[in-house]
Amino acid sequence: MNDENETFDLDVLREMFRSEAYDLLSELESALLALEASPGDKEIISRVFRALHTIKGSGGACGFEAIAHFAHEVESVYDAIRNDKMAVTREIINLTLAARDQIAALFDEAYKKMPAESEVTQQIIDRFKSVLPEGVAPKVKKPAEAVSAAEEPQETYRIRFRPARNIFLTGTDPQLLLDELRTFGTCRVVAQLDDIPSLEKLDPELCYIYWDVILTTSRGLNAIKDVFIFVQDTCELSIEPIDIEGVLSEEHGYKKLGEILVERGDLSPVDIQEIMSKQKRIGEILVENGLVNNDRVEAALTEQQHVRDLRKNRQKSEEITSIRVQSEKLDKLVDLVGELVTVQARLTQVATEGTSALLMSISEEVERLTAELRDNTMSIRMLPIGTIFNTFKRVVRDVSQNLGKSVDLVLRCADTELDKSVIEKLHDPLVHIIRNCIDHGIEMPDERVARNKPRKGTILLSSAQTGSQVHIRIEDDGAGMDLDAIRRKAVEKGMIPKDAEPSERELIALVMLPGFSTASKVTDVSGRGVGMDVVKQAIEALRGTIEITSRRGEGTAITMTLPLTLAIIDGFLTRIGDDHFVFPLSLVDECVELNAAQSEKMGDRDLLNVRGEIVPYIKLRHRFGIQGERPAIEQVVIAKVNDFRVGFVVDHVVGGHQTVIKNLGKMYKGVDGVSGATILGNGSVALILDVPKLIQTVEREESWS
């Protein structure tokens, strides 16, 4: 293979590793946060170790040497922790989180060409070294070794190690040999105690114990033998392979207890035959009959459990098969499906207008298949919202620590699915809201206790789906909004007249206006008067809405309502003159007729009486400057935004329409009230209305006039 090909292969490998790298970082972060809550939990320590180990191994294989070596240094610390040579402390967690961020920065540098501060790596390594206890020499393999080991199949060995009685007197501790075996892989050790004599006869400086070990490793037989190299002439040692990945693992279970004991030579086949005729548990029967003691049974059961677990896990990992696909390829697929939906609409129109029954039948079949293809493609892009929810745990931890507050983040219904692109765009607004909750909402611990609240504040992040919409709610049990302060600030800034009597809802809505902040001091976290307006804009750009409710002393709840997807929506098609407009169907409440007499009746104010309810309306013909004759009876599409009903006058209602959303391009970026366009079956373009924005624009114009 020439150099060019090698470079190409490495690039392909790196690209394949890309999303896995960020997944591993995410797993590392959540494991570290879990470890902070339960510092002694061995399983979580192993999770951290595994994540670092894979970053090291796979990173090294992809040529990210700096990352592999950095991960190796951090992994060494966790090797010492899992071997009980040091404890998990807050400092270790902080350092590891900093290391995780630095690894992320190094990956960003490699993938996104964003420069990372290379000196930070060494600073973190130095700080880790300073917290390692003296004499702790980590035994993890260097990155290159780790890579080659990861490629080899895993084998399981049954080892019986009976050291010489005088092993302690030779200065060798058998425990150290067993500890070394543990570093090879998954290892279970059972001490055999049947040779221990009675206390009077026992020489306390001799070793009467021998061990049965079940070890799963990719290191090979010779490496295991090497562990015992200095004692091999004086000890009894047997090493037998009992399970080899891909060779001896056809069955998913493992041998029965009797089979293991016979195989080990602890029991004869004749004895097992005789005992099997009795209908008791094999282990009990064998012990009762004095054929083996409990320790032998314990060792055999341990082996059985070990290999069964191993095979079960292997089977599980084989069952969950998936492939990683670049998101750009997925976006392209969605674009193509969008085109197909448009063409299918044209086909349906042509078939409907024509007289061919055959064409009609083909068109219906294409329509059915297209709908199925569309739904399947869209579902590929759906991700559980929990994928971003989990990243907020770190935000909550860091911000609350920074402010000296104590805050718990509770996640609920994190499996609600949303389109990948919506999820990505939600991250920043949610981070801002959570930071605000901690900074402005949750009180200091002493203050909370004084108010008879738990010392620890809670932020509840939940999601739910209704129809084609997802509701995300962020709720805190903090101080709630100070409506008087909001009112004073609004008057001070000239946002409302001094004598105005705004409702609670209107006051809260002021918080989302540009430049509004009631924070008495500016912190690193929030209070600079930018933020909630940006959050609102971001949510509206996703065709969503945001609503805040707050109760003084009890807390604040922010609810975002978002469409499931940004690519294809259920639309409601209308027509004005020769132009078509699409309303997002999720916002449409009802349609009513508007005759000339009715509209005159209401005079200059564009209000409509709908079964006794006064509904303001907007004339879209006027709004978009469309010339031509108005029909005698116009239609009003009534949309509901944040429980507020507004009518939109159009000439004709066409009906439901599968709307493939197309961007309008940079030229039309600043056009208020239109969020995109779609191509209709006849090839013409329809504008998709940004209903909340239209209402806001009209409200603003009316207040100015």
Partner: protein, 117 residues
């Protein structure tokens, strides 16, 4: 450095041991255990302040426990449940579901040790 202190509590011989119970101090521990098991109707070994153990400690205590059971005497161990010691015993492979012979079947001292892998 290990320290072995003997006292009597409600008729039980309490051996309070502290420091490092390793091969260096195995002879002293054996002597103390033997004396206690032979002479007292019940023995309690308190390892609450023990900082280190090795295999010699585990086999000594096992042997003493069997001897006590054979003599129909009660022997218990306190402080062994602390995570540091139980993890060490788990590493030595001393976790058990039941005792090693008929007399210690129900009273195995290592029943609470953690399996480590």
């Amino acid at each position: 450095m290990a320290d072995i202190h003997s006292s009597n509590k409600n008729g039980r011989e309490v051996l309070t041991v502290s420091g490092a119970l390793t091969v260096k101090h195995a002879k002293a521990l054996k002597a103390a255990l033997l004396k206690a098991v032979q002479n007292a109707p019940a023995v309690e070994v308190d390892v609450d302040t023990v900082v280190d153990i090795d295999v010699t400690f585990a086999q000594l205590v096992c042997s003493a426990h069997r001897m006590a059971a054979d003599l129909n005497k009660q022997m218990t161990i306190t402080g062994i449940e602390q995570e540091r010691l139980s993890l060490m015993l788990g590493r030595f492979g001393f976790f058990r579901h039941i005792g090693c012979n008929d007399s210690t079947m129900k009273s195995c001292l290592w029943a609470y040790c953690q399996k480590t892998s």
